[in-house]
Amino acid sequence: MARKRKNKEQAEEPKVQRVEERETEGSPLSDIKFKALDGQTVQLMDVLDESHIMAFDGHGVTKYKVSYPGVKALARAAGIKANYYVDVRCTPSLENKMTTIVSVTLYSAAEKDSNAVITKLGEASDENTKGIAKLYKATMAEKRAYVRGVLELLGLDNMYGEDEFSGDEEKTAEPELSSTDYQAISKYADAILKAKTSDELEEAGEEIKEVADELNATQTSFLRRHYSKRDGELSAGF
């Protein structure tokens, strides 16, 4: 494994320890705190501003996305050292869908305190990166591992880096279509998925329009999503 030591600027006021008192799920932002090494409790929103953080509903529990600058601000305030190790765990290949996996080891200011050291994995592949990030998978993987490490060191359980959400929401939203609902539209789904040309796809779309009144919202949403996806694929191929 290739291992390298990254030297970045030292934290200005090293003073953090792993948080032991964690906040309960769904705490309002104003109640969320983390504890520093000197015992001082720091309010999360004293460090972040509203542009750094966004709430979302995670299966009935309020959770938060934190931007990368927000995570860096937290790390600075908490005294998590910007010195860290990066270890490459998996290099891209066709077999692993061009996935890069790295581990990042983070230290709090008290480097000798084993409770304040954490090693986290981060991964990036064609499937979970977009745009230019596809070209810099190692950097993306490192960034994800770093963000996960900082949030975990601070005990911020219901917070996630913004990069965790590139497309995953769509993947989890789709499987609400029951098999009974699917069976009823399988003919149309097959026509969409097997369409080899835009004309064939349009034909499938016309057929669906004719029965649109008989479809429920989940079925319509499923067909619409796949139609749009297939349309994009066929256009890209052309």
Binding site: H59, S103, E164, L177, S179, Y182, Q183
Partner: protein, 266 residues
Amino acid sequence: MNSALDSSLPVQKLTASSIKDFEACPLLFYYKHVYRVRLPFERQMALVFGSAVHKGVEDFYNGKPNTFLEDFKRKDITKKEDQPEADFLQEFAEHKELGTKLLTDFVDRQSWLEHVYGISPRGVSEQKFEIEAKNPSTDEPLGLNLKGTYDRITSTGGILEFKTSKKPYKKDDLEEKPQSWFYPLSFFLERHAIPESFSYIVLLKQRKKEPVQVLQKKLTSDDIDMAFRKLKGVVMQLKMRNWVRGNGRFEDNCDCQRFVKLFGRV
């Protein structure tokens, strides 16, 4: 294979099933996996039925004719000692009908599985593994091996586990059942890749609406990290060798007391 087994540990390998035993009752785990004794034979109707359905699923994927019938009709383990032959044949016929229905429903839903859940029909079944348990981030060994069999690995890297059940699984089972984290971790350690997803495919015996249930989670390296932490927690508890009775909801029906009666206290 593991070259650095930790002799201070009470076991040299863990499976998802042994972890399930440990979480339910450390005393039961002791008898089954440390002392390694078994209870006297009992009729294993549910177990054999489940195995027969598994075999039917495997055969379907391999393009072979259904062997559900042959596998299930094993009188040696499915017939009660004093059960009249006619009763046994009747019971067998009912199970055969149910098993065949479960498999038919499953086969009929391949398109749904593929297009809604991305579960490809291509892949390999019954993949056995035994690998060294280590920290996926640092390679630090835990001192034992992980062993098991994936029901199926799809061509896109998804792990499938097939179940038969009277009731639907709960969403929490995707986080709480040991298989759901043990197999993704093993997959990563074995293949240096993150499985695309972990799915329970539950063939429901008492269906109300849907005969097949899919519980699926997409996986990231964070899940692999979390899985290792769970495994490490189990290993640390094992080191303490505190073989106490479990106090969960199955406490009254736990086999640990039958082991105590037969083999004495720990």
